[in-house]
């Protein structure tokens, strides 16, 4: 079987899940989109661990599954206000968001990837530097999600998406020591715990609010 194309397919699905999160108005759908994305990344990790016979990647996949798939999703879902399925963010203009997102992607592909990334050689999958494109695109999408939304939930999910992209980049480029991965996870976890405290207090952030004394 052609594993390379499976990895490619999974990566493309991760990218599409990022678009799904970007285009959602409803908070609960965004959280579940993030869940799907994390599960897909966990699946990619398991596949790569099988291909490279790497125990590190296996542990990493399990960590992803439990921390992102279960814990973060649970923490975020419990913080959504009552009548969960009806909580939505106003002023989400999908065509506008998608077009700006595409511009981000074009910039990512043509400037950053073609100049810097195309010469890198991934260890976990030799000869396929093109898969490195996906973490880059995911990173930009997370970044854009944070800047384009006002609700705290969207911004947390954007941050989780960025961390997801870092994990994806790490597993594609070279299997990094598990300690670093674990610290990234604790970082995300702590952030989610802190921000879930914030969400109790404040659901959305207006532009200049934080700067007032």
């Amino acid at each position: 079987m052609n594993y390379e194309s499976i990895v490619f397919l999974l990566s493309a699905s991760i990218l599409i899940s990022a678009f799904y999160v970007q285009g959602q108005r409803y908070i609960i759908s965004m959280i579940r989109g993030q869940l799907v994305q994390s599960l897909l990344i966990a699946g990619t990790t398991f596949l790569l661990s099988y291909l490279n016979h790497s125990i590190d990647l296996l542990i990493l996949g399990l960590l992803l599954l439990f921390l992102r798939g279960v814990l973060i999703t649970y923490l975020l879902e419990t913080k959504v206000p009552r009548r969960k399925s009806y909580v939505f963010e106003e002023g989400v203009n999908v065509p506008y968001l998608f077009l700006v997102d595409l511009i981000f992607i074009v910039v990512a592909v043509f400037i950053i990837y073609s100049i810097i990334f195309s010469s890198l050689v991934p260890v976990s999958q030799p000869g396929t530097s093109s898969t490195l494109l996906f973490p880059l695109l995911l990173f930009f999408q997370g970044l854009f999600l944070i800047t384009s939304r006002r609700s705290t939930f969207s911004q947390i999910i954007g941050y989780v998406e960025e961390e997801n992209s870092l994990v994806l980049f790490a597993i594609f480029l070279l299997p990094v020591p598990i300690v670093i991965e674990a610290s990234v996870f604790l970082d995300v976890l702590a952030l989610v715990v802190i921000s879930s405290v914030i969400t109790v207090e404040k659901f959305s952030h207006e532009r200049m609010e934080e700067l007032r004394g």
């Binding site: 490619f8 990218l15 678009f19 285009g23 999908v94 998608f98 595409l102 074009v106």
Partner: protein, 313 residues
């Protein structure tokens, strides 16, 4: 040479004459699913013949544009029928006049002409339809053109016949990610361009009409031309979807077997009609301003996989 002429004539006449039939079959099937008796499958022909016999009224104040655009748009669609593989998988006489991109741009040209003529009528309803079309088409036509570029990148040529031959000889190319998502995006565009239910509900009393409102001021022979070109447009887009994206197999090219392409195309179209029917009868129509979201998704798919196909090469 004689074979070439025969092939050209058969493709042209087939597109011209069978296009209303597929619309008729679609209408009939849909009626049966909705437990109605429904019109005959030849109803579009009866409509066209009836309209051709009727008197043509032209709004006062409209210019020459209003009167001649239906013929011009009809001509544009006839030209497209000669340059893309809608019946035969081999090039015919006029094929060399344009490539895939040329075909897409001709579709845009016809849409533009019809919009300009509708504006020329001075009707409020037509102007409303034009403003809707203009605000949706910037994504719709953009996605159509990008899908064609994306699929041409698979074979590194912009010739739809080469793409068809390549997909037939390399079955694995049909399940590459780029091809699958280009197909998906093109199918979404097909539903939009032909005004199918999740996006547009046909009928002259509909509040959500888009394309239909362009025909609002037309009557008689001009309306017949517009309706006929609408059927041809649906046939062309559907056949490109079938022959280049979805099911490239099954077409014959040598004389006299190419006549077998006619039943093959009928079979393929029945499949497409079935797929569209399932969508039409299960989904509710989306609100008008949501159409932009839908088209944005199609556009995103096409651009995304255009970029990916370039990078993967």
């Amino acid at each position: 040479m004689l074979t070439l002429i025969l092939e050209t004539v058969s493709q042209f006449l087939f597109v011209l004459l069978s296009a209303p039939l597929f619309a008729g079959i679609f209408g009939k099937f849909k009626a049966r699913i909705e437990s109605r008796k429904g019109p005959s499958i030849f109803q579009p022909y009866y409509d066209i013949i009836k309209l051709l016999k009727k008197e043509t009224l032209v709004p006062s104040g409209s210019s020459i544009l209003f009167r001649y655009v239906p013929y011009a748009a009809f001509g544009v669609y006839c030209l497209i029928a000669l340059i893309i593989p809608v019946l035969l998988p081999v090039p015919i006489i006029f094929t060399a006049s344009a490539d895939f991109l040329g075909g897409a741009i001709l579709f845009s040209l016809a849409a533009f002409l019809k919009m300009a003529a509708a504006m020329d009528s001075g009707s409020n309803i037509a102007a409303m339809g034009v403003s809707r079309l203009a605000s949706f088409n910037f994504l719709g036509e953009g996605a159509l053109i990008t899908v064609f570029i994306a699929v041409s990148l698979i074979t590194a040529t912009d010739n739809p016949y080469t793409t068809n031959a390549y997909l037939v000889s390399n079955p694995s190319a049909n399940i590459t990610l780029v091809h699958v998502f280009a197909t998906l995006a093109f199918f979404m565009i097909f539903l939009y361009e032909t005004g199918k239910i999740p996006l547009e509900s046909a009928g002259l009393q509909e509040l959500g009409m888009i394309d239909e409102s362009l025909n609002y001021e037309y009557s008689g022979r001009l309306l017949a031309m517009n309706k006929w070109s609408g059927y041809i447009k649906q046939y062309l887009l559907g056949s490109v979807l079938l022959n280049v994206f979805l099911i490239p197999w099954g077409l014959y090219s040598t004389y006299p077997y190419f006549l077998l392409d006619i039943p093959v195309m009928f079979g393929k179209w029945l499949l497409l009609i079935f797929i569209v029917m399932v969508i039409e009868t299960t989904l509710a129509k989306v609100r008008l301003f949501k159409i932009l979201d839908y088209l944005a998704v199609a556009f995103t798919f096409s651009i995304l996989f255009l970029l990916l196909s370039e990078v993967m090469h």
